[in-house]
């Protein structure tokens, strides 16, 4: 085996993505270092790593955001690179810079690129400048009245967004002038709360928009390729729950056009490493640049499944200065992949997060299925971290097969002890509109009435009650603890 590209990589993350990254590290012969807060000392990513370092923090999340401690941990363990995963510090330019300053390799883009793309407004301007379509919008001025006046100018509906934000925080749709002021104020205060930056901007809101994103790889020297697009239109609370690649019913010409624009943007930015360019696509075929995520996406496995590539390996190779691992012409897509995000939440109660304990985890095993997770039986599910527990990723020869397989896999998946959206995901996949590929980001709301829990029929109720009754020890004793011949004689009376 050739010399590894790095000796040791610290994974500045936790949960499934940390485990995912470590899996590739192990395959590449690279040692891994995990970081963890006190409360997750026995977590799977810690056990999976070759080494682990505890990071102090008032909260577990605070620990994972502590740049100084993380870099110190990397130094202390002799790591020569840091993989940030997604979330936490993955899009923090300061972190990327600090890593570089410490003489370590950041497996991701440069701090400058992160800064550029991290600010919605600068990213948008950059995109516009390089011929990527952007939605008509009003930039923040700091003067709310002026902002409102201009916003009214581009017409309704409008989308109000946090300048510094992402993930739907500080986002709202405004359909009339009368709602605008209050919406702007609320968005601003939410943005302030989440991002420490109250600036908001407004842009044309596309009705029934689809969320299309393009996976790109750049070598940092102006060369970039795309690994096709993904569709992430099915969302709740502005968060994706089902992603697929390729997109449903997207004309090949349009798909190619979108992918090319993404490559153009990445190349123009001298983008290094893996990134994702997100778009909204209207029913009329118009698409607008939304933002660029300068990291590995949660939903990257669907791209891996159709291309057969290991994106983490690509990231490591690029970070190690090996350049792009393949040419655009070498990128081939095969079949269809769907990812379902399994979350600890109650879909029947507005997707409110749930807590509990993983009492039992049963995962179907199929060659066409990946279950990305860091779950342990007995593990507590707390509100400390994101409610996403795992990702179920399924490949099929075509979309219909991928949908059927996903439903089968979800039905066969058991994660008991905390309420999850597993049942709900299967209901979404099985919905006629989903099967038809009639997707948009309002899918969940539009079909809400069809997506409620399916009532049990009589047979199912009986099966359930029988199965449950025999789970209670006392009842099982009662059912099975009768000595012979009494058991055989039954309820006889003389």
């Amino acid at each position: 085996m050739s010399t590894p590209l790095f000796n040791k990589v610290l994974v500045a993350n936790r949960g499934e993505i940390a485990c995912r990254v470590m899996r590739t590290l192990a395959e590449m012969g690279i040692a891994s270092v995990a970081i963890h807060h006190r409360v997750e000392a026995r977590a799977k990513h810690v056990r999976m790593a070759d080494e682990a370092v505890e990071i102090a923090g008032d909260t577990p999340v605070a620990a994972h955001l502590d740049i100084g401690q993380i870099i110190a941990a990397a130094k202390a363990t002799g790591a020569d690179a840091i993989h940030p995963g997604y979330g936490f510090l993955s899009e923090n330019a300061g972190f990327a810079k600090a890593v570089a300053d410490a003489g370590l390799t950041f497996i991701g883009p440069d701090a400058e690129t992160i800064s550029l793309m991290g600010d919605k407004i600068s990213a948008r301007n950059f995109a516009e400048a390089h011929g990527v379509p952007v939605a008509p919008s009003v930039m923040p001025t700091g003067d709310l009245d002026a902002f409102i006046a201009q916003a009214e100018g581009i017409g309704f509906p409008l989308l109000i967004k946090a300048a510094a934000g992402g993930g739907g925080k500080g986002m709202s749709i405004v359909r009339s002038a009368s709602q605008l002021r209050e919406a702007a104020r609320l968005a601003s205060s939410e943005a302030q709360r989440y991002f420490g930056d109250g600036r908001v901007y407004a842009e044309t809101y596309v009705e029934r928009p689809r969320h299309i994103e393009v996976q790109v790889l750049g070598d940092g020297k102006g060369a970039a390729i795309h690994l096709f697009e993904r569709e992430c239109s099915v969302q709740r609370r502005f968060q994706k729950i089902i992603e697929e690649a390729p997109s449903a019913n997207l004309p090949a010409k349009l798909a190619a056009e979108i992918c090319e624009s993404a490559v153009r943007l990445a190349a123009a930015a001298n983008y290094k490493n893996a990134g994702t360019v997100e778009y909204i696509l209207g029913a009329d075929g118009r698409y607008f640049f939304l933002e660029m995520n300068t990291r590995l996406q949660v939903e990257h496995p669907v791209t891996e499944m159709i291309t057969g590539l290991d994106l983490v390996r690509c990231q490591i190779e690029i970070a190690a200065g090996k350049g792009l691992p393949l040419t655009q012409a070498q990128v081939k897509a095969n079949g269809h992949a769907i990812e379902c995000r399994v979350c600890a939440e109650n879909p029947d109660n507005d997707f409110m997060p749930e807590t509990g304990v993983v009492k039992y985890l049963g995962v179907p095993e199929e060659p066409w299925l990946r279950f990305e997770n860091a779950l342990d039986q007995g593990q507590k599910v707390t509100a400390d971290f994101d409610p996403m527990l795992a990702k179920l990723v399924v490949h099929g020869a075509d979309r219909a097969e991928a949908v059927d397989r996903s439903i089968a896999a979800l039905n066969g998946l058991a994660l008991l002890g905390v309420k999850t959206n597993i049942d709900y995901l299967a209901r979404v996949l099985d919905h006629e509109a989903f099967r038809d590929g009639d997707l948009h980001t309002g899918f969940v709301a539009e079909h809400k009435s069809d997506l409620g829990p399916v009532p049990l029929d009589e047979t199912e109720l009986v099966q359930l009650l029988a199965a449950a009754a025999l789970g209670f020890r006392d009842f099982q004793d009662l059912a099975l603890g009768t000595p012979e011949p009494y058991s055989a004689i039954g309820g006889w009376r003389n």
Binding site: D477, T482, E484, Y486, I489
Partner: protein, 534 residues
Amino acid sequence: MRKIQSMISTSSADFRRYDVHNRRVVSEFRAKQEAARHQRPARDLDRLAKQGKMRPRERIEKLLDPGTPFLELSSLAGNMAYDGDSPSASSIVGIGIVSGREVVIRADDPTVKGGAWYPLTAKKIVRALDIAMENRLPVIHLCDSAGGFLQLQSEVFPDKYMAGRIFRNQSILSKMGVKQLSLVFGHCTAGGAYIPGLSDYSVIVRGTGAVFLGGPPLVKAATGEEVSVEELGGADMHTSVSGTADYPAASEDEAIHIGREIVAQWDRPKKWDCQQETPEDPAYDPEEIYGIVPDDIKKSFDMREIIARMVDGSRFHEYQPNYGTTLICGYANIWGYKVGILANNGVLFNDSSLKGGHFIELCNQNNTPLVFLQNITGYMIGREYERRGITKDGAKMIMAQSCSRVPKFTVMCNGSFGAGNYGMCGRAFDGRFLFTWPNHQIGVMGGDQAANTLAEVKLNQMKRAGLVDQSEVDRVWEDTRKAYQEQLSAYYSTSELWDDGIIDPVDTRNALGIAISASLNAPLGDPGYGVFRF
């Protein structure tokens, strides 16, 4: 083991006639049983309902594990006594499953004279506790009794086998390590107070349950003290102050739940290792018994046909099939348990007695429980048989049977007369259980012979007094026969607790299955016999 080849034709005229007859006999039995169980004055039921109490059978049903059997014993005890004022002798006794454990349940019946104990009640309770001792079965008492029936106190109170024996048996049971639980639903007054008092565990229902040696009126009369039931012997007083009872319960339902929970703590006793097979239904329909047993006690029938409708797969290994043929002996399985069966197929001769005695010895050697199916007019009499030693041969059989170490079970199938009753393990011979079919008759001799004998004595007296009118002679004969016949009946015998209850013939298999299962809790007795007269 070979299947018995039935010779019965279910389409024969006899079969159909007997079937009609026996079904009528059984439905009469069922009607009497139904009345004894459920027919009560509305006043008594209203009073019970007002107190928020369940009827005793409801309590039992709730106590038992669902879907398990309950073998009720002596359901018609007392049916011919006290003008019918004490149905089931005011007490319910049976064997069933509570929290997976085989137990004796014994319940007072507050729907009859406040649950007061009649003489036969005491006899029935003593017998229930004897069963518990003989078979090492835990006992659950469902207490709700006003105490001894005062009008008949002389027959309830003083003698060896009267009420005191209950408490003596309770103590001995405890000494033997056999557990007892009392659920106190109503009052336990005077002697009755000792039932929970002598139980290992007791639960008492708040508000309705009470335990005291003397109730408030008696206390007032004796000492002038005025005290409420609750204060004197209520649930909270006994469970928090006196320690007489262990668990207070807020309701009867809760008392039953607590009771079930207590039983669930008990160890499951090891039974002795009787040979066992997987149970099989009889190959012949047990209901065909109705068409086999004739409509007249004087008509004979082949007891093999009964065995064929009682044992697993109708299979029977007959011992000495050609010797002593009036006594059928052989091995079979009942609900899987290997048993040795002795069944009468006519009067007992010398050879049948010897065969019976020998077979009993074989079963004792082989640890095989014995089942006696009685239909016996007695041992053969006459010069020839006495010369052949019928008495000493009968005595051998009685000796072997009496001294058996294996458990014995007797079913009175049709008739039990004279010394045959003894040889075939009659009530006096400590069989673990004895059941009677409703058609059965029992007596020292048959109805007509006895009537003739008795009438002759009377008529001789009349003759001496100069009365010789033929119609008067007929009347005397008929009255005598009638009175005697009544005492011969299964109802009389079960009323007096000479058995453990009348059972429907088709229930025999289940009753024996439970009886055998219960018997295995007690270790086998010591082997050995007395002196056989050879």
